[in-house]
């Protein structure tokens, strides 16, 4: 997949769950090819001995006491839902299985 082929883009779009049109796939394959080439520059300095930084400001243990706090009501939860049955969110039939 090092080449940004249309198939590679389609595969990524599947993982990202976006139904790209063929036109979009073709355009993105071109754009992303150039972009990936540009960002590959990071590899030239990212040597073994350099540790990664995932938090810019490292903090110690950040833990919460096990005490119940404010919750949402069911009405609040469902207020923005595209579809629901009054207490639960409704979705169309599911094809896949849980992971």
């Amino acid at each position: 997949m090092s080449e940004m082929t249309p198939d590679a883009v389609r595969h990524l779009a599947g993982l990202a769950r976006i139904a790209l049109s063929d036109d979009e796939v073709a355009r993105l394959a071109g754009e992303l090819g150039a972009i990936v080439e540009a960002v590959e520059a990071v590899q030239s300095v990212a040597t073994e001995d350099v540790p990664p930084t995932s938090h810019p400001v490292p903090l110690g243990n950040v833990l919460r006491d096990d005490v119940v706090g404010q919750t949402l009501t069911t009405e609040e939860a469902l207020a923005g839902a595209p579809d629901h049955d009054g207490t639960r969110f409704r979705v169309t039939a599911i094809l896949g299985e849980e992971q």
């Binding site: 903090l59 110690g60 243990n61 833990l63 919460r64 119940v68 919750t71 949402l72 207490t87």
Partner: protein, 505 residues
């Protein structure tokens, strides 16, 4: 669905060695969820909770919501790691596991990936015949549970053929520890039994730690069983399947044996095993194919940027280690030896889940047989009648107080049972109840003798029979005296007095 070909177990084991692995998910019973302050349904009576009520913005994955780690969940996880004999990582990290599914609100699960909190352990598992098997543990990591789907339309709530599904996010974010074993070899014909014994050992451990309700039927404890077969004489593992949805101890055993027989039939036929998830069907006792492993399993793990690493200092771990109770397996083996019960009697206590109570009662100073008798007898009976937990009725110290009165001869067993009922109903201490109900044993020999003489007068042959050696003839007189005394006499003392009378005249 075509029926699977199955090979005889014996034949299968002749040709192949089963290799097992288990992934057990334990729902922790903290007050709140793993990353949010929503109430934790796994610590509550889940059946009584309305859908989508135990939720915060995070449980719904609302834009802008953020996770904060529950300290108690971390402590429970460390304790569990220690109980599994694991090393605790000084620094462990949360990671995002990315995949889309409607029950996963954020469409990523916050889990741990290459830096789990606990790793490299071992658990002693007791088999049915009392032998111990060491199950090697690879890791135990912290993560969050997903919501619950209900499939509507189509057959029996199955996902296939459903018209639509409903999502309840109450369970989303419930703290989980996932315990992963290393491959377990050499179990041969006991492979299924080991699966059952292993998961029930995990259940005992987490209950003993008080960190999970561990009700398998409610999903507090869930097991995925990995099975592969290795042809005899080869060293490489075969392709494995992962059977999910095994919701009872017995079905773990059955599912493992089923997979051994199914895979053996395929391999012997020259076929290959598909690496896939399979589903166990409790009703029919078979597994069915689920999702094959594929490119879609690219979970794109990366360190969770919204959370800092968890640092388990040596002091913190030492404190939790010091508070760890003895392992249930080892404790059971020790107590069996100490208490001297028969295997049957001991196993009955284990099965009744009353080991802790019996132990505490013995620790309070009651002799082992008496402690067993109280808990397995009258207390269990009352608990059963009233549909409550035996431990909720009476404390080990109260049993001690009651039994002391029996030991002193103040109460007979029968009277003591009456007093127990009073204690359970809140009438006071055993002494108070004895006094209030006038239940004390009549220990005045004069009064007893008067009653004996009265009974003998009605049945004068008895003394002769006793003198002829037919001691059992005293029974009738004892019965009459006990009746006259309204049960408040010590039968043994009455018997002594009758024999005395026979000798004296």
């Amino acid at each position: 669905m075509a029926k699977d070909q199955l090979m005889d177990l014996e034949k299968a084991l002749e040709l192949y060695e089963p290799v097992l692995g288990f992934e057990v998910h334990v729902e922790l019973s903290t007050q709140t969820k793993m990353f949010s302050a929503a109430p934790n349904p796994a610590a509550m009576d889940e059946a009584a909770i309305e859908p989508n009520t135990c939720i915060t913005p995070l449980c719904l994955g609302l834009p802008g919501s953020l996770p904060v780690v529950n300290r108690t969940a971390v402590e429970y996880s460390i304790s569990l790691g220690l109980a599994l004999g694991c090393d605790i990582a000084p620094v462990s990290r949360f990671a995002r596991k990315n995949y889309f599914y409607p029950d996963l609100a954020k469409n990523y699960q916050i889990s741990q990936y290459d830096e789990p909190i606990a790793f490299e352990g071992s658990v002693s598992v007791e088999m049915d015949d009392g032998t111990l098997v060491e199950v090697p543990i690879e890791r135990a990591h912290m993560e969050e549970d997903a919501g619950k789907l209900t499939h509507v339309g189509g057959a029996t709530g199955r996902i296939q053929g459903a018209e639509y599904s409903l999502v309840d996010y109450n369970r989303a974010g419930v703290p989980l520890v996932e315990i992963v074993t290393k491959p377990i070899e050499g179990m041969e014909g006991r492979a299924g039994e080991l699966g059952r014994a292993y998961v029930s050992t995990i259940r005992d451990i987490v209950r003993n730690l008080g960190i999970s309700h561990a009700r398998m039927e409610r999903g507090n404890l869930r097991c995925d069983a990995n099975v592969s077969l290795r042809p005899r004489g080869e060293s490489a593992y075969g392709t494995r399947t992962e059977t999910k949805n095994v919701n009872s101890f017995r079905s773990i055993e059955r599912a493992v044996l089923y997979e051994i027989r199914r895979q053996a039939a395929i391999l012997a036929d020259g076929g290959t095993i598909t690496q896939e998830t399979r589903h166990w069907h409790e009703d029919t006792g078979v597994t069915s194919p689920g999702r094959p492993k594929s490119d879609a399993d690219d979970y794109r793990y990366f360190p969770e940027p919204d959370l800092l690493p968890v640092e388990a200092s040596a002091e913190w771990v030492a404190t939790l280690k010091a508070a760890l109770p003895e392992s249930p397996v080892l404790m059971r083996r020790r107590l069996r030896a100490e208490w001297g019960f028969s295997d049957v009697d001991f196993q009955a206590i284990v099965n009744a889940g009353l080991i802790t109570e019996v132990k505490a009662t013995i620790d309070a100073g009651v002799e082992a047989p008496a402690a067993r008798k109280w808990w397995m007898g009258e207390i269990s009976r009352i608990a059963n009648d009233r549909d409550v937990e035996p431990s909720s009725l009476v404390s080990p110290d109260e049993i001690k107080a009651l039994q002391s009165l029996v030991d002193q001869g103040t109460l007979t067993d029968k009277l003591a049972r009456e007093v127990l009922l009073g204690m359970i109903d809140g009438e006071g201490t055993p002494e108070e109840i004895v006094a209030a109900r006038g239940l004390e044993v009549v220990s005045d020999d004069g009064a007893l003798m008067a009653a004996i003489d009265e009974a003998l007068a009605a049945d004068p042959d008895v003394l002769d029979k006793i003198r002829e050696g037919k001691v059992q003839a005293a029974g009738a007189i004892i019965g009459a005296v006990m009746k006259a005394m309204k049960g408040q006499a010590d039968a043994a003392r009455v018997r002594e007095l009758i024999i005395e009378r026979a000798g004296a005249s």
